[in-house]
């Protein structure tokens, strides 16, 4: 029921009409008043009108405003309502219409904008082409008049014009490079002709120098030949002398051998002498030992003599005492005393003799001892002298050894000298042969010098002819340069040519090498 009321305006109207009619009928039945009933009916209509009518009016007015806005071109106005009855459906239809209209208009606008853009593009393209073509034409006329420095300002925005411009610039680049190269070439030819002339003159001078030089050579070879002969003679002399030296040294070797033998014998003899001296030394030592034993014996004798002397002194003392006693007894006893005195005198005499003899012995022994010591001294000195002699002999032996070694060395040296001299002799013979060869060569050199002299004379005539020809050539290349000067060529192109010709061109094998710097030239150099 509610859904039906929402969906259908007619249903709402019917229900509202039923309610108000009910109220009016009820009012009439209750009051039974005509005016009041009319008023009630009117009130019902007014209420219905206020509720349903104003709603419809408002909806229609809003719809009208929106459709008018759409009609005036404002397609952004949304047409919507929560009504789902007949009016609500009108709303949604209008809104669909609005949206599809907006889409169509948008499409139309886009299409028109595209068409306008395309037209303006075409227009500006045509203008660009015309401008570029005019620009190109000016440059091309200037180039045709011979100003090869000019380049078209390449229009990179349009492919066709870019192709034309680039191709034209490339062609002028190649033409300019070719002309520049011909120009340079002609200049080079003129310079070359001058150089040839100068060179020919120089050759002429040199030929004269050669003639003079060959004369000098002739003289020098003669001198050389004479010198070689002298050398050969001198080396022959040298060879003989060396052979003599070799003979002399061989006899010297023999002599040194003998010296070596002699020194060996001397050494053996010295060894014997040393041995004999050793024997003498030994014998003398034995003699010294014996003399010392004698010394000991004399010492003992001396002691014995001392002892005898002591005894003699004591005996003398006794004899003195006995004489004193005898004197005293004589006075008392007559004769007896005298006998006693005689004995004492005798004893005294003996004692004195004994003492004298002992002293004599002591003196003799002292003399013996002194002599003995002298003998020992003499023997010792002799022994020392023998030792000295032995040392001297040993030293002499050492010297003899040194002499033997020296003789060996000398022998060696002499042998080497002998060998060297032999080699020298054979070398001298070789030198002599070489000098002979040299002499022959000198003869041949003299012959060649004579031939060179003749050739140089012929060459001089040929060079004169070259000079004449080169003069004619230069005159022609000057004519070529005059013709080329009618073209104007950029300096850079002229400078590039020598390097470009070395790097190989894109023009192919059949044409002269082109400048590879052509593209760079467009960017920087064109006017």
């Amino acid at each position: 029921m509610v859904q039906l009321l929402r969906r259908s305006f007619a249903a709402k109207l019917l229900v509202g009409f039923a309610l108000t009619t009910g109220a009016t009928v009820g009012y009439g039945l209750v009051t039974r008043n005509v005016v009041g009933t009319i008023l009630m009916a009117t009130a019902g209509q007014v209420v219905l009108g206020a509720y349903l009518g104003t709603n419809t009016v408002v909806s229609m007015r809003t719809l009208e405003e929106q459709t008018e806005a759409i009609a005036d071109g404002d397609l952004d106005v949304e047409v919507r309502t929560s009504r789902i009855d007949e009016l609500g459906r009108v709303y949604s239809s209008v809104d669909r219409m609005r949206r599809s209209l907006a889409d169509r208009i948008e499409e139309a606008d886009e299409a028109r904008a595209e068409a306008e853009a395309a037209e303006s593009r075409a227009q500006s393209l045509a203008e660009d082409y015309q401008r570029t073509a005019t620009d190109y034409a000016g440059t091309m006329r200037a180039v045709a008049d011979g100003d090869l420095r000019r380049r078209v300002d390449v229009d990179h925005e349009h492919e066709a014009m870019e192709t034309v411009g680039t191709a034209f610039n490339d062609a002028v680049d190649e033409l300019e490079a070719a002309l520049a190269r011909v120009d340079t070439f002609a200049g080079d030819v003129a310079d070359g002709a001058a150089d040839v002339r100068a060179a020919a003159e120089q050759i002429d001078d040199r030929t004269d120098d050669v003639l003079a030089a060959t004369d000098d050579i002739d003289a020098a070879t003669d001198e050389q030949r004479a010198t070689a002969r002298t050398g050969a003679e001198e080396t022959a002399d040298l060879s003989a002398t060396a052979e003599e030296v070799a003979a002399t040294t061989e006899s010297l070797v023999e002599t040194t051998d003998e010296a070596a033998d002699a020194s060996e014998e001397a050494r053996t003899a010295a060894g014997d002498a040393i041995e004999t001296m050793g024997d003498v030394d030994e014998t003398m030592s034995e003699a010294v030992d014996r003399i010392e034993t004698l010394d000991d014996a004399t010492a003992e004798i001396t002691e014995a003599a001392e002892l005898i002397r002591d005894i003699a002194e004591q005996t003398n003392m006794l004899a003195l005492n006995a004489s004193i006693e005898a004197a005293r007894a004589g006075s008392d006893a007559g004769n007896a005393g005298d006998g006693f005195a005689v004995v004492a005198e005798e004893v005294k005499g003996l004692a004195e003799d004994t003492g004298d003899r002992a002293d004599a012995i002591a003196e003799m022994i002292d003399e013996v001892r002194t002599e003995t010591e002298r003998a020992v001294e003499a023997i010792r000195r002799t022994s020392e002298q023998v030792s000295d002699g032995s040392t001297t002999v040993a030293e002499a032996v050492d010297r003899l050894d040194d002499i033997a070694e020296a003789v060996d060395d000398l022998d060696q040296g002499v042998r080497e000298i002998s060998d060297a001299t032999g080699e020298q002799a054979s070398a001298a013979a070789g030198v002599s042969e070489t000098i002979d060869d040299l002499a022959e060569n000198s003869d041949r050199t003299a012959d060649r010098a004579a031939e060179a002299d003749a050739a140089a004379s012929e060459q001089s005539a040929a060079v004169d002819a070259v000079v004449e020809e080169s003069e004619t050539f230069r005159a022609r290349s000057d004519d070529l340069l005059d013709v080329l000067s009618e073209f104007e060529v950029r300096e850079s192109a002229a400078e590039e040519t020598p390097t470009a010709s070395g790097s190989g061109g894109r023009g192919g094998a059949g044409r002269p090498a082109m400048s590879d710097g052509g593209d760079a030239v467009h960017g920087g150099e064109h006017r």
Binding site: T54, T62, S82
Partner: protein, 256 residues
């Protein structure tokens, strides 16, 4: 007289009529309560508490009239004083709320409310006096009503600050209902015993009750239909997007 005013006088068809009117007003109370309870809506923006005054105060006044409270006897007529008190309070709210919907300039709304109050007060004067003063007061009240209609129909749209189609549509519906329905009140007054006596007191009570209910309850229902206007800000955005996506079926900001 005061005693008469306060003494309930149950019985009679009058009380039945006023009882029906009271029930009718309760429907409006339910509708506004529904609006206040709806969590999706911004009650502050919708000023639903002011809206509640309309059926609530009218309901109270009809309950009072059902019980026979506030009846004044003047010049041999029984006048329902509570009705005029009801009108003095609720009709400015009806006028003011319609202005609030499109955010009409405050001074203009106050002007309309002032004219409305003048209309009610002079109407009360016309009802309670006699002779020249009565007709003079009626004339003043009618002029105030016409001026108020001028303000509602001419000044309001000019001074409106919120002119979205949804708000405008709600405003137009509320204003048109008020403007059209209220045209009948002077006619009923002229036909009533206070005027030319063409209709009895009971007939007048029935007509006025019908008009009051018809003027107030649909008013709240129309606001409920257009409640989408007062959705919370974020929801409103979401609803708009939904509306764009799904087309006709579920826009909430507009209603019929």
């Amino acid at each position: 007289m005061i005693g008469d005013l306060l003494s309930p006088s149950l019985g009679g068809v009058d009380s039945v009529v006023y009882g029906v009117g009271t029930l009718g007003m309760l429907v409006g109370v339910v509708v506004v309560t529904w609006l206040l309870r709806d969590g999706d809506l911004d009650a502050e923006a919708g000023k639903f508490r002011y809206l509640m005054i309309i059926p609530a105060f009218a309901g109270l006044s009809y309950a009072g009239m059902t019980l026979g409270i506030g009846v004044i006897s003047i010049n041999g007529y029984e006048v329902e004083g509570v009705r005029y008190l009801d009108w003095l309070v609720t009709t400015p709210v009806l006028v003011g709320y319609a202005g609030h919907v499109v955010d009409v300039d405050r001074s203009v709304v106050l002007g309309a409310v002032g004219l409305d109050a003048t209309m009610i007060l002079t109407g009360f004067v016309a009802t309670t006096t006699a002779g020249t003063l009565r007709w003079g007061a009626f004339t003043v009240s009618t002029l105030a009503f016409l001026l108020m209609l001028y303000v509602l129909f001419v000044q309001y749209p000019r001074r409106a600050r919120a002119t979205s189609p949804e708000r405008k549509r709600l405003f137009l519906r509320l204003r048109n209902q008020v403007g059209v329905l209220w045209l009948l009140y002077p006619v009923i007054w002229l036909a009533s015993p206070v005027g030319f006596g063409l209709v009895s007191t009971l007939g007048t009570a029935m007509l006025v009750t019908f008009m009051d209910v018809a003027a107030k309850v649909p008013y709240t229902w129309v606001v409920h239909e257009h409640r989408g206007i007062f959705r919370h800000e974020r929801d409103a955005v979401a609803v708009d997007r939904d509306a764009d996506d799904s087309g006709r079926d579920s826009p909430v900001a507009t209603a019929d």
